[in-house]
């Protein structure tokens, strides 16, 4: 799994996870969604074309696009800027676990 700042990222809030092994987009999003629910995330999806899961304690979100398989991590704004990359990294590791992928490398956080 790779992690990189999303092109629209401001202040280290938005991150993109890119799995190493390509999968069928819809199936993969559906699987990650189920795993997130199992991990205690809450489904906040309002449109079927954009799946949104939120951790009710930290309010970090994972956004999934079934059409393309895009995975976006949204770190909550209350996290101090310096800690945001680490929060994103930890969530990316969790998603990597769901997909059976190796963890992203820490140097990708820059």
């Amino acid at each position: 799994m790779q992690i990189q700042r999303d092109p629209s990222c401001v202040q280290f809030l938005l991150w993109r996870c890119v799995p190493e092994h390509p999968r069928e987009s819809e199936e993969s999003c559906s699987w990650i969604g189920r795993c997130l629910l199992h991990a205690g995330f809450v489904d906040q999806t309002r449109e079927t074309w954009l799946l949104v899961y939120e951790d009710p304690r930290s309010h970090h979100q994972v956004v999934l696009v079934p059409r393309t398989g895009r995975i976006q991590i949204r770190v909550h704004y209350l996290v101090p800027i310096a800690q945001r990359p680490l929060v994103a990294f930890s969530l990316a590791c969790q998603i990597a676990d769901f997909l059976g992928e190796s963890y992203p490398k820490a140097e990708q956080l820059r």
Partner: protein
Amino acid sequence: MTVQIKKEELFSVLPEHAFAFFADTPVVYHCHHYNLWLDQTIDDALGTREGMALRTRTAHEAFYHYLAQLVPRSGADTPAEKLKVAELIFAAMGHGNLRLHTQAQGGLATGDFLHYGYTWKEKYGEKVRRRHTADAVAAGCAVAATEIAFDLPMGTLDVAEETCVSLGAPQCRFQIEGAKQPMPPSRPVGKRETQRLLGDSFSGKHEEQIRAITTGLRSFLGTINSDERGLVQGFGVFVTLHLASYYNGISYNALYNIERTAPQSFDVMQGLLVEAGHQCGFNTFGGILRSPEWEGLVGAPTGDPLEILIGCCAIGRALGFGQWTIQDFAPDKHFVLRTPGTYESTYHVTRHGLASSGRCYLHQGGTLAAVQLAHRVPWREKPTFDQAFYRSLFHSDPQWRFQETHCVSKGDDYCEVAVERIRK
């Protein structure tokens, strides 16, 4: 009693003209890039002192007319309830948390996470030292809300922002007191005035695709709510639902002030207003096109220029800029965008009468930006839309020229911008 704002009852759209209204007041979505850039443009043109005075006065007037429509429909009865309605609606529009501790003779207002001051700090805080306060819009809302709450005529009170987060303060504070100078009366430019000027709508090329995306985007925008800060953060930008009268008021008053006092700079001022529109188009439209929301609704941009222009027309409509239609397009040659009206032209005719040339500066800059996005952005490389990227594209090599060939502001039946490739 508990005050309630029923958003779905107060929000309305003229879908065939792509105009949006809240409590019968024209509203549009704009992001912090445009909001900050336009305010700075006004200050650059008039000087900081006069620019801030104009922006505050315009916000005061715009919010007074708006709240005069909104508050009676909210069920608020007492002054305290009316002030609460203003606070709630200000936050719901993505402008931040404003607290009004005011009486009929004035008092104090405080603000946390106010859109202008907070986003200025986020965008420029580490690089630029600011010397004046940033929240003319919050100031205008605070003073207008107090007047409405205590049934005072517009201009009875005046306001000054005393501290601002953009200057390093922990909170923004506003002092409201009796006005030393009267404010000239003005009539609102509302839904009725706007509708009166609108002719029949029309469609253009690729209408079905544009319409379908617009419907999806409108539906999605309707589900977005502000967060605990009273801010709306989406598509990689801070979004506001804003009063069209504010943008129009500051733009045209500054423009005509320049025409009176420094007529030789009139064209420069027009150019600056177009640049604000260009910033808006590039950052907001670009942000939306790169977002997961867009990818889910439409698909990731492939880089096909037509696909980007279709997307931009849908975005323009969903944001309330007007019924953007494609009249003509030849890749790498020309693009013609036509709309039965814009939120700029309907305001201009109502407030300033007919002009000798086009007056839709957001429309001009936005259309040019759409063409740039279509032709100059390597979408598959997923570029980061920051200031360095913007400068690298537009600093020295314009590549495209534009002209507003038709404008409701000069008596035409529609507004049209033609963009053409510069051949070297």
